[in-house]
């Protein structure tokens, strides 16, 4: 009897530990039912001109830097902020306006990402000043957020924070990786508590310990006049 109990404990405990780190069901934001040439309905564009476009027979999300104007948020920002944060939207709007150099689109249906994995495929198309593709996460009602992004004018992966209207560089991946325009690549982040890992095309590039655990909305990020296509935005929370 005693041996049975011990054996059962031996079997159950590792299983429980394993289950704690098992990924939950992945949530892929599909653009299949979106209308090309229009703003997406599955993402809420807050800054920049985001449209659904067709690439090789697939609907993809395009940040069109050709129409980027310095300091200008996306149209209908107030309504979108209200949709995201209800009565708490004013602080968000003020903060986002100060970050209007950085186009962002918030994924609908992911209200609070804390632990797990976020990945997105991207293809840089152009941009005279910048060619940036990033994962937006930890988006707070006051407009603060984090991003891990690749910049094709610098060939690097970097973690940035945006707090109270101030952008701060946090950590740059030690390796630079030149990527060709017009080719698809994948950025992925994994978050467990305060541990953040960044990957480019499956290769670990960036590790960082955040000051506090992640909690907030997620989406895609870009910069100034970047022209980038995004696809397969996927959020996979860890099982609580």
């Amino acid at each position: 009897m005693h041996n049975h109990t011990r054996m059962r404990t031996c079997l159950i405990l590792p299983a429980m530990l394993f289950a704690a780190t098992l990924p939950a069901r992945a949530q892929r934001i599909s653009l299949d039912k979106e209308i090309t040439g229009k703003e997406p309905k599955t993402f809420l564009p807050m800054v920049g001109s985001w449209v659904v476009t067709r690439e090789n027979g697939r609907n993809v999300l395009f940040i069109d830097g050709r129409v980027w104007k310095r300091g200008q948020p996306a149209g209908g920002l107030a309504d979108k902020a209200r949709a995201l944060y209800g009565a708490r939207n004013e602080e968000f709007i003020e903060s986002i306006k100060s970050f209007a150099y950085f186009p962002i689109a918030v994924a609908k249906g992911v209200d609070d990402f804390r632990n797990g994995e976020i990945s997105v495929r991207f293809q840089m198309v152009g941009g005279t000043l910048d060619r940036c593709a990033g994962i937006l996460f930890n988006v707070k009602p006051n407009g603060d957020y984090l991003t891990v992004r690749y910049n094709g004018t610098e060939d690097n992966l970097v973690l940035w924070t945006f707090n109270n209207g101030v952008r701060k560089f946090v950590k740059r991946a030690p390796e630079t990786v030149p990527l060709e325009l017009g080719t698809w690549h994948t950025i992925k982040i994994t978050v467990e508590g305060t541990q953040l890992h960044g990957f480019l095309d499956g290769k670990p590039m960036l590790d960082f310990t955040l000051t506090e655990p992640v909690s907030g909305k997620v989406g895609v990020w870009s910069k100034t006049d970047s022209m980038v296509e995004f696809d397969d935005f996927t959020v996979t929370p860890s099982k609580p």
Binding site: R66, R70, G126, E180, L181, T224, M227
Partner: protein
Amino acid sequence: MMTSTRSAALALVTTVWGVVASPRLQTDVVGANQQKCRVDSSAAWFVKQRVWLDDSKHAWSDDTLRVMLVRAAGMSADARGAIQLGWQVEGVSASASAGDSVAIAALRKLAATRGAIWPVKSVSGALGARAVWVLAQHDTALARAALKRMMEAGPEESNAADVATLEDRLRLQSGRKQIYGTQFRRDAAGVLSLASMEDSAHVDLRREDAGLPPFRISACLARSMRAP
């Protein structure tokens, strides 16, 4: 006769780089291979550049620097900024008077000095900023520094068409492919071909963003110019 005169006149201002001195130009260029290259001065890219290159308000802060740069680049101080037509032939150098080593040294020093004011449009005017671009063609280290400063300064301060052309040139020099299709090579037989380019499918999107003409126009203009 008329066409060949016009073509010859245009060739004078576009032989070294694809730039056209007259901002009001609207003409057909018929080159040696009889291609028609229409440059439409009402096209969005042309208007965008013309607006950017307008120095008529004299809204620059450092006239001494402007004069020094313009002179060093072999340009006329009262000239209007030339429209960037988005093509260069690799290995072809700037005009004989350009490449002033004192000016290049001064710019290199500026680039290396943290916080130094770089001669962008608000500092030295559109013509001064173009002069920096001309001088940068003669010195790779300066060109790299200039490109970085131009990109950081943004589209109000730097002519995006010049940024794009310089980036292509530097990418090829560092062994990468160009992305705007502005760089051509001439072989021993004098035949012009486009240097290797990434993602040709989206090249005109990038050109539009940079205020350059569509690729077919630049390529047509480049190919219509006879070998020197």
